[in-house]
Amino acid sequence: MSVSEKIVADFVANGIEFVTTVPCKQLGGVIDAVEKEPKIYHIPSNKEDEGMGLCAGAFMGGKRPAIIMQNTAIGVTVNTLVTLTQFYRMPLPMLISYRGELKEPVACQVEMAVHTKALLNQLNIPTYHFHKPGDEQELDAILKYTFMCNKPVAILTDATFWGGY
């Protein structure tokens, strides 16, 4: 089973049935695996705040949601995270590609990478960082934690974790 398939299997095992995605090259394999999984409704969104709105709705409609996005999205979604997801106390696992870390070829990505953890910390969002192959073993526990505490939770996955860009 590939890492991407393992991640999606953990989603399914934790009752996640509604996943929205905004693409990133690094997450292409997971997005493909989400699309192929019949137990998950995959709804691509055009912007990450829109995706968080969809997830909030799905949660209230009775389905566990998740969002897959790039770390640049943290810059886009601060208002939505605090006034919707956190204010109404809703769970939201956020599987995030941590662009701009080691092995990054695009300089501009570093500009957001240096703010990513600081912003998540400022927002009091529990944050986990998958850096080495095997770190995905913790995903199951992170998902259980997210739906236990009804909070948005960030899972940063960098290029080293994915085996290079």
Binding site: E50, A56, G57, A58, L84
Partner: protein
Amino acid sequence: MIRSEIIRDIAPILRDQLVVCNIGLPSQELHLIDDQASTFYMLGTMGLSSSIGLGVALAQDQTVISIDGDGSVLTNFGTLPTIANNVADNFILLIIDNGSYGSTGDQPTYAGKKTSLTAVARACGCENVIECQAEETSSVLQGAINSKKMTVIVAKCESGNIKVPVITKDPVVIRDRFMTEVIRRNA
């Protein structure tokens, strides 16, 4: 007619449906006119009424009406292609189009100038798009519910506001009672 008069007109229809209501005056007006546990009031996050409503509609079977404004749809334009490509026949997007940002002092929107949200929704691929005058809203809305087809309604009305108090209910209470209604109505 202004927005609050449309909301007063359609309130008896809304009672029997799940409703996601836009931030600011629309939520405050609906809350004042006919507060229902089946309404999710947005206290923040401009633009996401349609996204939240579509999410609820895709997750369960009851009809969901998102009450939105022209300014809010302009803020989250990406929502229209998402709606068009993820058809939920239990979803109705009601855009009350008064051509202005009502909650912030009636500044004009582009929808009140050259931009037609009806044409944009159709261009995005939405299949059932109905533009109506304010007075027709309740009959068009009832027709959309009866049709059991995903519908976007653009109700054209005049700009203007009434004085309404802010909503002081706790957001978690709003969310919890809405979710309880979702479960009850799907039982």
